[in-house]
């Protein structure tokens, strides 16, 4: 038996590795995505005061801290018995979250994924990155950078900092949006919408123009997401909806607080990431996907007109769409949706209001569910009678996709590596391309692009390294 290890994965957020187990004839016996870091937030926030949690848990991630901040804030609202925020507070939270999703999607598509798609999976590794993109497609790369910058600016204006600021507090928000801040953001929103629309074209054309992409790493699974009252695409607050691989409802209109009856998490000894599954479908068949592809497949409509037209186009040639590389196309549709919604919220007179908080009595338990850029994010807390956290359960977006990513890795390994005498860097990159499509945030932490070397080792059954290759 031979073991091939991709360690660490590159151009994903966080640290992970892939191991492939090959038999004597180089047939793929097993393929696994391992998450090798341990964060422990669920444990060490125990004993901390509840009002500290939204700021504490946003440190989970440097890419989507806002999502953790808001999911925790929603849960804390629940603990405080807050059922409805003031219109201004809710709209500010939504605006903040649209900024978050916009910047995260731009970061992933332009900085991390597009080099594979534009240069090819087997292209020169030294060139297959954001600097290569800046060299060959400077206009495109700079638009990507500016799209992300705009999303970051929305966050900065509301939270005081681009990363790890403060905004949501129990029952509301801590700061109003000034007219000057609103006008500054409105200043270039039309340009942002124009670029976002062009990004959908780019992602669509890449996907449709390469027949291989439709079946690359293709897996079929149910899709889970939040959904609005009318079945519309929803990122901030809604009910849980799940469709089967064929598009039928597995469940719908389940209050987000009902997640405990729908999802269980399995622990496996070779990964720090849990394996969630749908209770009603069981451990083996109950794995599912979340994120942009799940949301676009799941919703009946999108409430912003340009994005809705793009959604109709997306599902026109067969629905539900299962190809993992279609995640990129769905992601760009959401980027456009966020840009449109940001303009709508900025033009809403409530957004600059001053009524930011409602006061209520403290309870004991709260659940906050939000659609983070990478998918459904669940924060669940219980406090003791002194207001200190005694239980925390976080089901992070990437965790939902764990099994699906493993299945995709196995598909690629079977197709591109199985039986081959020599394993090339390009073959291994295909495995990473499949994982990248999910935009996993393996640690929910900040990392520098391009600083993670890839080390591949072939080890025999006795553990001896036969050959190794690094980049």
């Amino acid at each position: 038996m031979t073991r091939i290890v991709i360690d660490p994965l590159s151009r994903v957020e966080g640290h992970g590795k892939v191991t492939l187990l090959l038999d004597e004839e180089n047939r793929v016996v097993e393929a696994r995505l391992h998450i090798v870091e341990f964060r422990g937030f669920e444990k060490f926030i125990q004993g901390r005061p509840y009002w500290e949690v939204p700021v504490l848990v946003e440190r989970l991630c440097g890419i989507c801290p806002v999502s953790h901040h808001l999911a925790a804030a929603k849960a804390i609202d629940g603990i405080m018995g807050v059922e409805k925020l003031t219109p201004t507070a809710e709209k500010l939270r939504r605006l903040l979250h649209f900024g978050q999703v916009l910047q995260s999607h731009a970061l992933h598509f332009f900085h991390l994924a597009s080099p594979d798609l534009l240069f090819g999976f087997d292209s020169e590794i030294a060139h297959r990155n954001i600097t290569g993109l800046l060299k060959d497609y400077p206009d495109l790369a700079l638009k990507g950078v500016r799209l992300r910058k705009y999303g970051q600016e929305v966050i900065r204006v509301i939270m005081g900092k681009r990363i790890h600021g403060t905004a949501a507090i129990a029952g509301g928000m801590n700061k109003a949006l000034s007219f000057e801040e609103r006008d500054a953001l409105l200043g270039n929103i039309d340009e942002i919408i124009f670029w976002a629309d062009a990004s959908v074209d780019l992602a669509r054309d890449i996907f449709l123009s390469t027949p291989e992409y439709r079946n690359f790493a293709k897996v079929s699974s149910p899709f889970l997401s939040l959904s609005g009252k009318c079945g519309e695409h929803e990122l901030y607050d809604g009910h849980l909806r799940c469709r089967s691989a064929g598009g039928d409802f597995v469940f719908d209109e389940i209050a987000d607080s009902g997640y405990t009856g729908l999802i269980r998490e399995e622990v496996k000894p070779w990964s720090y990431m849990k394996f969630p599954y749908l209770v009603m479908l069981g451990k083996e068949a109950g794995w599912y996907r979340v994120g942009p592809l799940a949301r676009i497949n799941n919703c009946d409509l999108i409430s912003s007109p340009m994005a809705e037209a793009r959604r109709r186009e997306f599902v026109s040639d067969g629905w539900p769409v299962h190809a993992p590389l279609a995640y990129h196309w769905a992601r760009m549709i959401e980027l456009l949706h966020c840009a449109e919604k940001i303009r709508g919220l900025l033009e809403d007179t409530d957004i600059t209001g001053g009524d930011l908080r409602v006061e209520t009595e403290m309870g004991r338990e709260g659940i906050g569910v939000i659609e983070a850029p990478r998918g459904t994010l669940i924060h669940h807390y219980r406090v003791d009678d002194q207001g200190l956290i005694e239980m925390a359960n976080l089901v992070v977006s990437t965790t939902h996709n764990n099994r699906a990513m493993n299945e995709a890795v196995l598909k690629v390994a079977k197709r591109d590596i199985d039986g081959k005498k020599e394993v090339t860097e390009g073959m291994l990159n295909r495995i990473e391309v499949a994982i990248r499509a999910f935009d996993p945030c393996l640690s929910c932490a900040t990392h520098a692009v391009g600083k993670m070397p890839l080390l591949v080792e072939a080890v025999d059954a006795e553990g001896n390294v036969i050959w190794s290759m690094g980049k």
Binding site: G47, R48, P49, W51, E52, P54, V55, L56, R59, M159, G160, K161, H164, G165, T166, A167, I169, A170, N174, K175, M362, Q386, G387, L388
Partner: protein, 220 residues
């Protein structure tokens, strides 16, 4: 009028003034944590250490005397203050990123002012008990720097004598003067000066965290 030299600037002083009083009146900054105007100084944090006529002394306890030459902003003293700040950080559990006092914390402010970029010393990670028993006030002992401002404010201003410092060396702890040792069994109120005066995030009013947005905090 009598005067002393503060880094070469002549600053007048009145009878009974300390070097710190004199510097504050002349608007010449001397870093400090445990000094509070109108409270008896005791020089516990040592951050206001200056050199007076060639000898180290804490500015908050040293009486101003005619003709003194006080050095404040020298490389030697900056390094000394940096070491003191680093020791204060490593002997507690100070996690600024999630602390609600961040931006309004005097310890954090002093560290920024002195250009502290790392801990330098190995953190102790002490295990200290939190007291959340009171409905309105919380004591997070992880962040206590034993400045004793709460002790003095509770005794001298609030007239309640609720706080004290107990133990020695690494066992030093902020304690509560009640039979149970819990804050719930005292008559402390969220409006007390002892609560307001805490320079770090050790004594907090419950549920108010992060209400002040970034940009409006005390030291933003």
């Amino acid at each position: 009028m009598k005067a002393i030299s503060l880094d070469g600037i002549m600053a007048p002083f009145a009878e009974g003034h300390t070097v710190m009083d004199c510097a504050l009146a002349a608007n010449i900054p001397i870093p400090h944590l445990c000094y509070l105007p109108r409270c008896v100084p005791h020089g516990s944090c040592r951050l206001c250490t200056v050199k007076i006529d060639g000898r180290f002394a804490s500015a908050c306890t040293q009486p101003a005397m005619e003709g003194q030459h006080v050095e404040i902003d020298t490389e030697e003293l900056r390094q000394l203050r940096l070491s003191l700040l680093r020791m204060l950080f490593v002997e507690g559990n100070h996690y600024c990123p999630s602390c609600e006092k961040s931006g309004s914390c005097r310890l954090q402010k002093a560290a920024y002012d002195e250009g502290m970029l790392d801990l330098h010393y190995r953190p102790w990670y002490p295990k200290r008990e939190m007291d959340a028993s009171h409905p309105d006030i919380l004591i997070d002992r992880d962040r206590c720097i034993f400045c004793e401002l709460c002790v003095k404010a509770s005794r001298d201003v609030d007239g309640k004598n609720i706080f004290g410092i107990s133990g020695r060396g690494t066992d030093t702890r902020l304690v509560v003067n009640s039979k149970s040792g819990l804050l719930a069994d005292t008559d402390i109120s969220a409006q007390d000066r002892a609560v307001e005066v805490c320079p770090v995030g050790a004594i907090l009013v419950k549920g108010l965290g992060f209400e002040i947005p970034i940009g409006k905090r005390l030291y933003d």
